[in-house]
């Protein structure tokens, strides 16, 4: 088959089974856009800002497990995409971003819309390529998809100068069926001796904790994680990225750990003697002060990326491999060797955990005057729990309230930016999810500050009939910033009040959507039912919540797990929700 460079790009995407491409045209990618125009297998979704193209592709990838694809032009197109690329990089999301570049003869001459895309993105991609010859496009695309999806996933940028996609220069096209790279060979299976050693530690544990993260979700290992927990009876805690990796409504689940984790999860971390870390990377929001982290524990760590192991916390039993394979081997070993945990010790341990649990650390002071953000999330759960439901989030207090109060029972249902904490992520990510699952109910929980960072995407939602539900927990503040200013800056709310808010109802309507405002707690559930009843409309719910609610518990940066700030209401005599 003789194809031009532009046609090869599109054909390679088809050969990778790509269904959707989120993008925005411009000079350097016009040949590619022309090739897209002439086919129907791939649907291109025109966003309103390149940041949204990357977030949408990212949301799609998180929900489906497939590689998300974005297409942007050179210069400002590429720089606009950088935030989304970095977001995907920090959370290990498989993504391929094709960017146009100025023609090869003028590279380096400060040509119109030239930036060094490969240079700018280098620190926030898993890998990137500049394709200088049309003959190299097919192989480069193959490598890009392979690298993005295998091992520890991540974004890959393929930068293609305009002359390389010239419609008049055709070369023969064969898409490589398989690929082998001498310089990149991700580990698949864990070392059997190490797995055996891990099982030994686990079966002798008196106070074990299973701590799992995004790797379980990314590696589709939830079922085997569930089996491991059920076989051992060990308590399980998830990172923010790991939520849904273990069913939140299960008895063994302690909730999220870390900075805004539950009392029981963090106390269990503090006292555990054997920590089984699975697909989690000991982030500083999770560990708190390293010197105080799990002071009594032997640590087992399963991760596909050797560099994640012993990066911040030294571990005793490192196991490098795909989490699902390792768990499978581990389960087989436990069964074959008829290994049993220390039941007596476990029952004492659980008694201790139940004591911490009974503190009800997530309780808050209910109100019939003002909507509490916690209540708003809880009511959301009550209304959507039976639905085929996905929740994306922006960044801030609303994100934490959602993580704490919406129990996710399945993986890939909770979609948020954890590592980079990118405000503006929620709405475009939800577009990607809805595109992948048109029949599912997709909502985005957000704040009045975050939503304004990619608000233009309401137009994309209109154009492509994406009936998202936007759950704006409107506290009038950059709540997360205000909370830190309240705690650590004596209440000096420097530039954290979100003034001059638009009328969100009118704003939604002007984009052709339905807008709603809810101010009374008594109306909350009915409002949700009404909104979620509108199956084919985007409904923007401006939910006016308590302006000064805080997220508890909270571990200050630099403190240990046992040094949580608890809600001040816990010790009060008042009736808590």
């Amino acid at each position: 088959m003789e194809l031009s460079g532009a046609e090869i790009v599109v054909q390679a995407l088809k050969d990778e089974g790509v269904e959707y491409v989120w993008g925005y045209p411009g000079g350097a990618v016009l040949h590619i856009y022309d090739a897209l125009f002439k086919q129907e297998a791939i649907q291109h979704i025109l966003v309103r800002h390149e940041q949204a193209a990357t977030h949408a592709a990212d949301g799609y990838a998180r929900a489906t497990g497939k590689v998300g694809v974005a297409l942007v032009t050179s210069g400002p197109g590429a720089t606009n995409a950088v935030t989304g690329i970095a977001t995907a990089f920090m959370d290990s999301i498989p993504m391929v971003v094709v960017s146009g570049q100025v023609p090869t003869p003028v590279i380096g001459s400060d040509a119109f819309q030239e930036v060094d895309t490969v240079g700018i993105t280098r620190p926030c991609v898993k890998h990137n390529f500049l394709v200088k010859r049309v003959q190299d496009i097919a192989m480069t695309m193959k490598k890009a998809f392979y690298i993005a999806a295998s091992g520890r996933p991540g974004p890959v940028v393929v930068d293609i100068p305009k002359d390389v996609t010239d419609p008049d220069i055709k070369v023969s096209y064969v898409y490589p069926a398989t690929i082998q790279m001498r310089s990149y060979m991700p580990v698949e299976r864990g070392h059997s001796g190490q797995i055996r050693k891990a099982v030994d530690f686990m079966m002798q544990a008196k106070r074990p904790v299973i701590y799992t993260g995004g790797g379980v979700v990314l590696g589709d290992a939830s079922e085997n994680l569930y089996k491991l927990a059920q076989v051992t009876g060990f308590p399980v805690t998830n990172t923010l990225m790991g939520l849904g990796g273990y069913p939140a409504t299960d008895q063994l689940f302690l909730g999220m750990l870390g900075m805004h984790g539950t009392y029981e999860a963090n106390m269990a971390m503090h006292e555990t003697d054997v920590l089984i870390a699975i697909g989690a990377r000991f982030d500083d929001r999770v560990t708190g002060k390293i010197a105080h982290f799990c002071p009594h524990a032997k640590i087992i760590h399963i991760d596909v990326d050797p560099a994640s192991i012993s990066k911040t916390v030294r571990v005793d039993v490192p196991i490098v491999g795909q989490v699902n394979n390792v768990l499978e081997d581990m389960l087989r070993l436990i069964e074959e060797m008829q290994r049993k945990p220390d039941v007596k010790a476990l029952s004492d341990w659980w008694a201790r955990i139940e004591g911490w649990r009974s503190v009800n650390c997530l309780s808050y002071l209910p109100s019939d005057q003002v909507i509490k953000p916690q209540k708003a999330v809880d009511a959301l759960y009550q209304v959507t729990r039976e639905m085929d439901f996905y929740l994306t989030s922006d960044v801030g207090q609303h994100q934490m309230f959602a993580a704490q109060f919406y129990p996710f029972d399945k993986p890939r249902r909770w979609i948020n930016s954890g590592g980079l904490g990118t405000m503006g992520f929620g709405l475009p990510a939800a577009m990607g999810v809805q595109q992948a699952f048109p029949e599912a109910t997709v909502a985005c929980v957000t704040g009045e500050a975050s939503i304004q960072m990619c608000i233009q995407e309401l137009a994309t939602c209109k154009q492509y009939d994406l009936p998202l539900k936007i759950i704006l927990l409107n506290n009038g503040y950059m709540g997360m910033v205000r909370q830190w200013q309240e705690f650590f800056y004596d209440g000096r709310y420097s530039h954290s009040y979100v003034d001059a808010l638009p009328d969100f109802i009118k704003l939604s309507e002007s984009f052709g959507h339905v807008g709603m405002q809810v101010t009374n707690p008594a109306d909350l559930e009915a409002a949700y039912r009404e909104a979620f009843g509108m199956r084919d409309r985007l409904v923007f719910m401006d939910i006016v919540v308590d302006p000064e609610e805080n997220v508890y518990p909270m571990i200050e940066a630099g403190k240990g797990h046992h040094e949580m700030h608890m809600s001040p209401y816990l010790s009060s005599e008042r009736e808590l929700a």
Binding site: R122, P123, K126, H127, N128, I147, S183, D305, A307, S310
Partner: protein, 162 residues
């Protein structure tokens, strides 16, 4: 602790920047870095001299290995190895000291590779400490210009990187 890491990487544009970028982005030290293509033109070989505690050095090797362009690497300091550095040094050599400079150069097994009225240019190879020592012996007043290649290393015996 000082370490010498030998890295074999794809000889592609950008591969060097990836390594350099990694060191700056993660705040690792580079004392020297040399790179050139090998007998297989698709591969380059790099020698990196770095410094850090045990944890940092472990991360450095892991992070280097993680770079897609890196094919293989070896910590030369873990076993017996040979290190060499090349230096060219232009020194004042007038009147009374001209003979003395030549004698010093001979003692250090340098070679005079260029001569001018009042100057010599000396080529010298050896371990970095030997080159340092030569510079010290000559003294600042005497030195006009120096250029050093940075350390290259190779393992002794039948251990090898490829």
């Amino acid at each position: 602790m000082q370490r010498i890491i030998a890295v074999l990487l794809e000889n592609e544009s950008g591969a060097l920047s990836r390594v350099a970028n990694l060191f700056t982005a993660r705040g690792y030290n580079i004392e020297s870095l040399t790179v050139a293509p090998t007998e297989d033109p698709s591969l380059s070989r790099m020698t990196i001299v770095t410094r850090g505690d045990e944890n940092v050095l472990e991360q450095i090797t892991k992070q280097l290995n993680k770079l897609i362009d890196v094919v293989k690497l070896m910590d030369l300091t873990e076993g017996p190895h040979i290190e060499r550095e090349l230096m060219m040094i232009k020194v004042r050599a007038d009147g009374g000291v001209r003979e003395e400079v030549k004698r010093m150069s001979d003692i250090f097994r340098g070679r005079i590779i260029d001569v001018a009225a009042n100057q010599y240019t000396i080529e010298m190879t050896g371990g970095s400490q030997k080159l340092d020592a030569f510079i010290q012996v000559l003294g600042e007043e005497c030195i006009i210009e120096t250029v050093r290649s940075g350390v290259m290393g190779i393992a002794r015996g039948n251990k090898h990187l490829v």
